[in-house]
Amino acid sequence: MDILNAFVALLNFVIIPATAYGSQLALGALGVTLIYGILRFSNFAHGDTMAFGAMVTILFTWAFQAMGLSISPLPTALLALPIGIAFTAGMMLLTDKWVYRFYRKQKAKPIILVMVSLGVMFVLNGIVRVIIGVDEQQFNDGERFIIKAGDFKKMTGLDEGLAFKTSQGLTIIVTIIAVIALFWFLNRTRTGKSMRAYSDNEDLALLSGINPEKVVRVTWILAAILATTAGVLYGLDKAFKPFTYFQLLLPIFASAIVGGLGNPLGAIAGGYVIAFSEVMLTYAWKKVATYVLPESLAPDGLVQLLSTDYKFAVSFAILVIVLIFKPTGLFKGKSV
């Protein structure tokens, strides 16, 4: 029985949260990796793009809620998500037209484009804060749990409860759908293949008559879809606060780089590697240990390797380790 309880505790506090968090990171990292593969720079504005997309979605969610529109038990935010994506895609295409294209025409070095994206980041940062404010916003509605801790205890008779939030289930399902759709697009459609060709060998893609501007446009739209989805799912799962999205930039970049920049499969793997490391290193293992170990060995302390305040240090450390030993990432990506 103890092993079972230990497993349930592990599932409840580590595996489920880390899978949900990892899915959110994976979606974010996919956007970063696509932009890196096609436009050849690290887009620092990605975190704030997620915030922007989530913000638009939240505003429309509130509007829908006021109108009494609901798809209960699912959160109303899902209904507003396509609108959020549309606005974000429009915003990114305009940014490209007004800002990035100018530097692309000059064949600016990647580092210049990175700095440009930093500027875009600050502008977006400001826009989001001006429109929705700096405070935490709640927009989750509908059924909160798929499995409630109390129900689970009653059902199984175990001491340990298992809670599975709707937002977590939704995150995982939406991520699976998004990833399948993305890979289908990249591997099966003409436009998707031309994107891969452009990412692989820009000069040859031009020689083959692939239109770079179209490839760039499609990339921004895909990035907008991925960023908005990731942002909304993260907001549903935790809460929406502009600053946390800015902070998400580090684990997202760590995921993309750990997996191999420019490699979509790597971005997904990287997302889960980072999420699991973060959660496992900052989780207090006392409960699991008490169940598994004999009573005499039961730990007195929390058995927490790192305080949760240090979770960003985890992504940073993994990033450094991977860059030292495998500069192109776990999957073969481009070296940074």
Partner: protein, 238 residues
């Protein structure tokens, strides 16, 4: 004498703001013929070909395709006009399969490409066996076949090859030259830069020896091979 199908007529030019690399250099090829550009290192062989393809500024002179002045067109527009170019390096999409490479070559075409693809596979049977494999995993000679195949997918009238046999073994080189002759027989003009001057001139209908961006010798491949001056100064041996 009527004008050749493709001609870079007395071209002078260089890269960007840089000095002229080509000085009144003329390169031409007729329909279904093979023209080869040879010359010592740094003679501007590749540069001359890139000038014909619009990859550098032609400041004087002109490039004409089938009588039409295309000097001002971008390389991409020239692809649309039926010119295909196989660069010396990075000439395949390494992360994509052989078949996807060919598909990308035909990106501009709206019609059914399966027939052209079948022709390419007929020309390079090994590619058909490896069509699901990533092109980057192939050997040097096979990669060159993918590169040439990709260029052929546009159904070009002119095929330009920048040192197609660089870095492949002599056997593979002979094989590639055979294939290039076959391509020429289908009516496609071939313009090619080659390091292996002797072998290349043997299959050439027309040869251009460039020295320091100028035409040094011009003639049929056979003439150049027999020209004592060319043999002494360039081909080496007796």
């Amino acid at each position: 004498m009527s004008e050749p199908f493709l001609i870079g007529d007395r071209m002078s030019g260089g890269y960007g703001q840089g000095p002229n690399i080509l000085h009144g250099c003329t390169i031409a090829v007729d329909k279904g013929q093979i023209a080869v550009i040879v010359g010592p290192n740094g003679a501007g062989k590749s540069t001359a070909m890139k000038a014909v393809f619009g990859m550098l500024d032609v400041r004087e002179g002109a490039v004409r395709l089938d009588g039409e002045d295309i000097t001002a067109l971008t390389p991409q527009d020239r692809v649309g006009k039926g010119m295909a170019f196989v660069p010396q390096t990075n000439n395949i999409f390494t992360s994509m399969t052989v078949e996807e490479n060919l598909e990308m070559g035909a990106f501009l075409r709206e019609d059914d490409i399966s027939q052209t693809m079948a022709q390419v596979y007929e020309l390079f049977p090994i590619l058909k066996d490896k069509r699901r494999q990533a092109a980057g995993e192939l050997s040097g000679g096979q990669r060159q076949q993918v590169a040439v195949g990709r260029a052929l997918m546009t159904q070009p009238t002119v095929l330009m090859l920048d040192e197609p046999t660089a870095g492949v073994s002599p056997i593979v080189m002979d094989e590639l030259f055979d294939r290039i002759i076959e391509v020429a027989r289908t009516g496609i003009s071939i313009l090619m830069v080659e390091q292996n001057a002797r072998q290349a001139l043997e299959i050439a209908d027309k040869g251009y020896v460039l020295v320091q961006g100028r035409n040094a010798h011009t003639g049929t491949g056979k003439d150049l091979l027999e020209d004592p001056e060319v043999r002494r100064t360039f081909l080496g041996g007796t």
